[in-house]
């Protein structure tokens, strides 16, 4: 995935979670480390869909457990 797109996604996640970007590592686990709840997770998905103009299927959402997972999932989705 392009660094530019990664940066965009990181900005979206950082804004929704209100966590500064420098404290948001790619490996940090959304639910365990960042206290993300199901509503914030859905907000992240909706915002990524809108800003990057892609559709993330519902069954993919539970797999998005860290920024790294998001990058990997989107890579797969965009290859399709």
């Amino acid at each position: 995935m392009l660094e530019e797109m990664k940066a965009k996604i990181k900005t979206i996640v950082s804004e929704i979670l209100e966590v500064p970007q420098d404290k948001l590592s790619d490996e940090a686990r959304f639910f365990e480390d960042l206290n993300v709840d199901s509503m914030m997770a859905l907000e992240i998905v909706a915002s990524i869909e809108k800003k990057l103009k892609i559709v993330i299927p519902e069954e993919e959402i539970p797999k998005l457990r860290s920024l790294k997972n998001v990058f990997e999932s989107l890579d797969k989705l965009m290859m399709k």
Partner: protein
């Protein structure tokens, strides 16, 4: 597919009751488009007008948000009937709403809610409230759904 709901059917889905039930009727349920249209009528007999405000009755904005949130539950129940049938707890997560015009006694509030995302444990909707076809409030509501233990 359109489906008009009576107050009895509304009460099967919404856990809210007097004095906090803010849907009188469901005019339209469109599962394909992920949209519902509901109605709430305000009258000078509504209890909050006595205090909000004496000599200047205006519907509190939070009550309009609550009405939109209740319409969101109706939409969720239409989209996920198997989950709604188990009467989960619904709770508000985040609300971003602009208020454009005051709503007065005698006004009929038309509540239009459209799905952005609906999952087993959360949902996001675009919500709009109109009076006489003029938008009085609009925004986005994020809510959670949790099955009772």
């Amino acid at each position: 597919m359109n489906d008009i709901w009576s107050i009895e059917k509304i009460q099967e889905i919404l856990p809210q009751r007097y004095p906090f039930l803010f849907i009188d009727k469901v005019l339209e349920v469109n599962k394909e488009q992920g949209k519902v249209v509901c109605i709430k009528n305000f009258t000078i007999n509504d209890y909050f007008f006595a205090g909000h405000f004496p000599a200047n009755p205006v519907t509190p904005g939070v009550i309009i948000i609550e009405a939109l949130a209740q319409a969101s539950i109706i939409l969720y129940a239409a989209l996920k009937p198997e989950i709604a049938a188990r009467h989960p707890d619904y709770y508000l997560g985040k609300v971003e709403v602009k208020f454009l015009k005051p709503v007065k006694p005698g006004d009929q509030l038309v509540l239009e809610v459209k799905k952005e995302k609906a999952m087993a444990n959360a949902g996001i909707v675009k919500a709009m409230a109109k009076v006489n076809n003029n938008i009085v409030a609009e925004g986005t509501i994020v809510f959670g759904v949790k099955e009772k233990q």
